[in-house]
Each structure stands twice: as structure tokens, then as C-alpha cells.
């Protein structure tokens, strides 16, 4: 297995380079120079000042030189300064990242806690009412626009019933609350975004678990387990489940980046100060350094997620682990 992991790690290197190339290319997609945003806003800037800005960012040099400069700065984690408020981009993101991670970790826990049992039971009780209901819910989960669901639930729980807060991740009087009060407050703010964020993920994972379980239940070794006289519960939860969960484990690594990618919708709707919302605002205001940084970070996280997924798979399946 060590060789497997090593080879896998080696493969990530060209991919990382590829990520930097793509983000770099995207940046230069727009007509005109990226610094035009800065300069066009301000009428007073002279042509010379504009030119100085261009030179500062190296935008007058040939492409490959620019790319080289970009790489060098990346290695130092220097993503430049935000166009909006001139603060170092890295700092702005570091402030926001924990909030995003909190939201997404909670979502993942919810997704796995619910989806796996649902998937397993759907497989074992195939074609029963439970199965049919879950199938319908799964279809809905795939077809519903999540931002719409968010708005509807906001109207229902926030506006009409007033049970849950609909914006921010802590209340105005947060600092005055006790420790328990603070915890509860954050929890109340977490409920809606986490639920909605988890809904689509639930649909996908429960379906995946179900089909994996169904596949396993058809295998010969399940027949052997029954033929040995093992009680049905043991057959399902020991023999079948262990095998069915192997491919599911790999999905853990893959779900986190997906969630992060989608979390800027939720952070925007629910006004959470997370990295996703930062990225969205940066996009709306064409704050390129921030956009590039968020993009790179999301891509690297996805890469890590994939890597984790592959390693987990190798670890969990004894056929690969003990070659």
C-alpha cells in the first residue's frame, strides 16, 4: 500500500501545476487588463499612474514571464492585495475560512449520519413503502434548486414562525451571552444552512449507498453467510455492510470540496461571513486577487479531498491494503 500512496502523491504534482495554469488563464480571459477595474473607477488617475500600476503587476510582460511571477508569488503564499480594501488577500481569507469549514463539517456529519442508514435500509427493504418514499425524496433532492429551498425555509421558519434566525451566524447580543448561550446561539444559526446544504448531498449519498448495498447483497459470500446459519442481522450488518461501505468511504473525501464549492450560495443567502461569500462579493466587484486566491484554495482542497478518498479506499479494502 505504501507504493500506492506514493504513486498517488506523485500524480498530484502535475495536477497542482495544472491548477495554477488554469487559474492564471482564467484571470486573463477578460478583455482589457485586470487592473482596469482599479483604474477605471477613479477618473483622476493619469495615464502614467495607470502605466505604473501595470508595470507593478507585471502585466506588460509576455505571458510566460507573468506566469512565472505568479508561480513565485504563490509559493510564498502571496496572493497580493485586495482591490477593494488593499488588505492582503491571504489575511482576508484566513479570517473567513473557519466559518466556512464549520458550516461544511456540520453538513458532512449530517449527510453521513443520515444517508448511510437510509441507503442501507432502502436496499434491504427494497420495493417497500420506505424504499418508494426515499426514492421520491431522492429525486426531489436532485431536482430542487437549493437556493429556492433556502428561501422557502427562511420564509417559513424565519418570517412566519419566527423560530430560527435567518441571517448571520450569531446574534447581535452574542457577546453578552453565557458560554452555553453562545453555543446554543450558534447552533440556532446553523440549523437552516446546514439542513439545506445537506439535503442534496443526502440524496446523492443515500442513493450511492443503496446501490452499493444492493450489489453486495447479491454476492456469493452473502449466500454463504446465510448458509452457515448466521442470524439475518449479522449477515446484513457485518458481512454485507462492511463490503458495501468501502466505496462509500471514498465519497467522504469527495464531498467536502463539493460542499465548499456550493457553500457560497448559502453563505450569501444567510449572510454568513465565510470564504464563499467573500468569493461571491469579490466576483461581483471584480476583485481579482481575491477571486484567484479563493479559486486556488478551493481547487487545492478538492485535490486533497480526492487524495484522501483514494488513500481511504486503499486502507479500507484489504484486497488493496495487503497486496
Amino acid at each position: 500500500m505504501k507504493t500506492y500512496i506514493f504513486r498517488r502523491l506523485l500524480l498530484t504534482i502535475p495536477v497542482i501545476f495544472g491548477i495554477t495554469v488554469i487559474t492564471f488563464l482564467v484571470m486573463h480571459l477578460s478583455p482589457g487588463k485586470p487592473t482596469d477595474v482599479l483604474t477605471d473607477m477613479n477618473q483622476k488617475i493619469t495615464t502614467e499612474a495607470k502605466q505604473r500600476l501595470v508595470t507593478l503587476y507585471g502585466l506588460d510582460k509576455p505571458f510566460y514571464v507573468q506566469y512565472g511571477m505568479w508561480l513565485k508569488r504563490l509559493a510564498k503564499f502571496d496572493f497580493g492585495k485586495s482591490f477593494k480594501d488593499d488588505r492582503p488577500v491571504i489575511k482576508k481569507i484566513a479570517e473567513r475560512l473557519p466559518v466556512t469549514l464549520l458550516l461544511n463539517f456540520c453538513s458532512i456529519i449530517l449527510i453521513f449520519a443520515l444517508a448511510i442508514p437510509i441507503g442501507v435500509f432502502s436496499a434491504v427493504k427494497k420495493d417497500t413503502l420506505f424504499d418508494k418514499i426515499t426514492t421520491v425524496t431522492v429525486f426531489l433532492g436532485f431536482s430542487i434548486p437549493t437556493f429556492w429551498l433556502a428561501i422557502l425555509l427562511m420564509i417559513l421558519f424565519g418570517v412566519q414562525l419566527g423560530w430560527l434566525p435567518i441571517s448571520g451566524f450569531r446574534s447581535i447580543n452574542f457577546d453578552e451571552l453565557t458560554i452555553i448561550g453562545k453555543l446554543l446561539d450558534i447552533l440556532r444559526h446553523l440549523v437552516l444552512p446546514v439542513l439545506i446544504s445537506a439535503f442534496t448531498g443526502l440524496a446523492g449519498l443515500s442513493r450511492y449507498t443503496k446501490s452499493s448495498m444492493l450489489e453486495v447483497l447479491h454476492q456469493d459470500y452473502i449466500r454463504t453467510a446465510r448458509a452457515k446459519g448466521l442470524p439475518e442481522n449479522t449477515v446484513i450488518f457485518k458481512h454485507a455492510l462492511k463490503n458495501a461501505l468501502i466505496p462509500v468511504v471514498t465519497i467522504v473525501g469527495l464531498t467536502l470540496p463539493d460542499l465548499i464549492g456550493g457553500s457560497f450560495i448559502f453563505e450569501t443567502i444567510f449572510a454568513w461571513p465565510g470564504m464563499g461569500r467573500l468569493g461571491y462579493e469579490a466576483i461581483m466587484s471584480r476583485d481579482y486577487p481575491v477571486i484567484m486566491c479563493v479559486g486556488t484554495i478551493v481547487a487545492i482542497l478538492t485535490l486533497l479531498g480526492n487524495l484522501l478518498a483514494d488513500i481511504a479506499y486503499a486502507y479500507v479494502d484489504p484486497r488493496i491494503r495487503y497486496k
Binding site: F139, S143, A299
Partner: protein, 276 residues
């Protein structure tokens, strides 16, 4: 062969339900001017934010435009974006998948590495990033969704090509000296059609969701052109006083995407050899 598929299709309730929804939708979109009474682009500011009534079936928005008309014309946006975006990704994905699978070797490695890199960017975020650097309008939306959604299809086609490549009739064709292009397009392609079809139909649903998400965020179709997504933007802003702006567009998206998903899944069952 085709007859068997048609028979199974007609018996498959999912597929039929999906197809019905889609057909109704297409008809509504085509006959939009006939079905609507008001101009979707202009509104009477005196009639703003009215709840659904006899005159305005689904109410009015913040500029006084009739929501019903905007919804009907919005269907045109959704369908065209869905179909065109998927067509683009279909062409790219199938082409790359075929040559990657058939030629193997260096070509395959390069293409698959490229796919790996693209897959590192969560799709929606990638689309957002790209749109941020372009001007948001319906054409850019179509193109961007198209050029970012082909990766799954490419892998699928590549996989199928690899399996089919080894089958006897391909070896026979090569033995007969047929040119590579002919082999790929005339012999291999027809056999990968079924998974491509399923993937594309499901892709239309996904594209519609993406377009409405982009428009909702203000990065897709811009008002006054009506898209279900950008009507929802108003919905969010007037959440406390105009529930109709939030409910109906979302419902439309839901039903439409559901239709495509049902048809796609139904087709998948039809083509699955295990259910024969």
C-alpha cells in the same frame, strides 16, 4: 433492437412522466405569446408587488411586471440554455472520450490528466469564476456551462470505447483495413449512444439548475430579460412582503428539472441490460 427499447420505454412509468412534463414545457415555451396577456418586459409601477389575482395570475414584481408572463417567457430561457449548453458539452466530451479511449497511450494520458485538473474545481465555482471575467449574458452562460460540464461524459465515453474496442467486430473491421476515422464514428459511436443519451438528458436538468443559480446570483441572464432565476432574486429581496415572487419560479424550476431527471433515469433503466 430499437423496437425492444421502445417497448420497454413505453412501459417505464418514470420515463413517461418525465417525457410528459418536458413536452408540456416545450409547448408552453413555443406558444408563449399565445398564453400570456401581459408584456413580460414592461411593467406598470403603480401595480407593483400585487398578490396573485384574476388580472395577474401570479402577481406582479417590484417594477409592476406580470410574473406569470415572465415565468412563461422564462421557460424559453431555461430550455434553450439547457439544450445548447448540453449540446456543447456533448460534442466536446464525446469527441475527447472517443479519441482518448480509442488511441490510448500518450493522447489518453494527456486528456485524462486534463480532465483530472478540471475536476479539481467544483463545477459551479468554476463557472462562477469564469463568468466573473466575462460579461454575464445568456450566450456566455450557455458557453461556459458547456465547456465546464463535459468531463463526466468524456470519462464515460472513454470507458465504453475501451470496452467496445476489444470486441470482435472491431478487430474484424480493423482486419478489413477500415480507416480509423470510419471505425470510430461508424462502428464504435453507435454503441456508446445509450449512456451518452442518458447522461445528456440528465445534463439538461443540471444545466437548467445551474443557469437559474447563476441568474439568481445576478451573474446569468440579466433583467429585464426574464429567467426563473432572476425572478427569484427579487423574491429574496422582497421576502417579507411578496411570497409569490419566491414560490412560483422555484416551483417551475423544480418541476422542469424533475421532468428531465425522471426521463433520464427512466431511460437508464430501459438501457440497463439487467432489467431485461
Amino acid at each position: 433492437m430499437l423496437k425492444i427499447y421502445l417497448e420497454k420505454l413505453l412501459r417505464n412509468k418514470l420515463a413517461i412522466a418525465g417525457a410528459v412534463i418536458i413536452i408540456v414545457l416545450v409547448i408552453i415555451a413555443i406558444f408563449a405569446p399565445v398564453v400570456t396577456m401581459h408584456n413580460p418586459l414592461e411593467g406598470n409601477i403603480l401595480e407593483r408587488l400585487q398578490a396573485p389575482s384574476k388580472n395577474h395570475f401570479l402577481g406582479t414584481d417590484e417594477i409592476g411586471r406580470d410574473v406569470f408572463s415572465r415565468m412563461i417567457y422564462g421557460s424559453r430561457i431555461s430550455i434553450s440554455v439547457g439544450i445548447i449548453a448540453v449540446s456543447i458539452s456533448l460534442i466536446i466530451g464525446t469527441f475527447l472520450g472517443l479519441i482518448s479511449g480509442y488511441f490510448g497511450g500518450k493522447v489518453d494520458s494527456i486528456i485524462m490528466r486534463f480532465v483530472d485538473i478540471m475536476l479539481c474545481f467544483p463545477s459551479f465555482f468554476l463557472i462562477l469564476m469564469v463568468i466573473a471575467f466575462l460579461e454575464p449574458n445568456i450566450y456566455n452562460v450557455m458557453i461556459v456551462i458547456g465547456i465546464t460540464s463535459w468531463t463526466g461524459l468524456a470519462r464515460l465515453v472513454r470507458g465504453e470505447t475501451l470496452t467496445i474496442k476489444e470486441r470482435d467486430f472491431i478487430t474484424a473491421a480493423r482486419g478489413l483495413g477500415l480507416r480509423k476515422r470510419r471505425i470510430i464514428f461508424v462502428h464504435i459511436l453507435p454503441n456508446v449512444i445509450s449512456p451518452i443519451l442518458v447522461s445528456s438528458i440528465l445534463g439538461v436538468g443540471a444545466a437548467i439548475l445551474t443557469e437559474s443559480g447563476l441568474s439568481f446570483l445576478g451573474l446569468g441572464v440579466q433583467p429585464p430579460i426574464p429567467s426563473w432565476g432572476n425572478i427569484l432574486t427579487s423574491g429574496k429581496d422582497y421576502i417579507h412582503i411578496a411570497w409569490w415572487l419566491s414560490l412560483f419560479p422555484g416551483l417551475a424550476i423544480l418541476i422542469t428539472v424533475l421532468g428531465w431527471n425522471l426521463l433520464g433515469e427512466g431511460l437508464r433503466d430501459v438501457f440497463d441490460p439487467r432489467t431485461n
